[in-house]
């Protein structure tokens, strides 16, 4: 995507199935000049 930073990153964890968990990291990709 050409971004050089990810800001305001958040983590979320959830139990998706019995014995399986999902870890998800998301944030906003930005291009810093």
């Amino acid at each position: 995507m050409g971004a050089n930073a990810v800001i305001n990153v958040r983590f979320t964890t959830s139990s998706v199935a019995q014995g399986a968990a999902e870890l998800f990291a998301y944030g906003t990709a930005v291009k810093v000049q």
């Binding site: 800001i7 979320t12 959830s14 998706v16 019995q18 399986a20 999902e22």
Partner: protein, 161 residues
């Protein structure tokens, strides 16, 4: 006796093969549609922090949401069951969650656009397991992904001369 055993073996096998082909076709179609809809809304500003353009003012704001409930197919559940013997990444669930998440974000953007907003700020994503088939709490029936944020309408203020 022998025919009964054969039928008991055959039914899961037919279900597995059917779920594989139909599930794969549905997934491919969904990804095709997602790519097109993401492309259509690519210019729409969606950020995870409270953004305020310095030269514009917010004239309207309201919460917008996008929710998806997605179910796992018989074949993916079988693959996940195998994986759970030894542990590790469950790739068959990863593609499912990826589809759900992208769908939720696209739905949120669509709602924001429909309501006349220019951007969605402070976006957050939540995942939750909704219910399991049967009462024994085994297997995943459906996963819900919710994307929510604040839709805002920006306007360039009239410059005082």
């Amino acid at each position: 006796m022998a025919t009964e055993a054969l039928v008991n073996l055959l039914i899961p096998l037919v279900l597995l093969i059917g779920a594989y082909f139909i599930g794969t076709a549905i997934e491919k179609k969904h990804y095709r549609e997602l790519r097109a809809r993401e492309h259509a809304s690519r210019g729409f500003l969606t950020v995870t922090f409270p953004y305020q353009p310095p030269d514009q003012e917010a004239v309207d704001a309201m919460m917008v949401t996008g929710s998806v409930v997605i179910s796992v197919d018989y074949f993916k559940r079988f693959l996940a069951g195998l994986r759970m013997l030894f542990g590790g990444r469950i790739a068959s669930y990863e593609s499912l969650l990826d589809r759900a998440r992208r769908e939720a974000i696209v739905r949120m953007k669509d709602e924001a656009r429909r309501k006349g907003f220019n951007a969605v700020i402070n976006v957050r994503l939540e995942t939750s397991r909704i219910a399991s088939s049967g009462g024994n709490n085994k297997g995943t029936a459906a996963v819900e992904i919710l994307a929510f944020g604040t839709g805002v309408k920006f306007k360039r203020p009239a410059t005082a001369s």
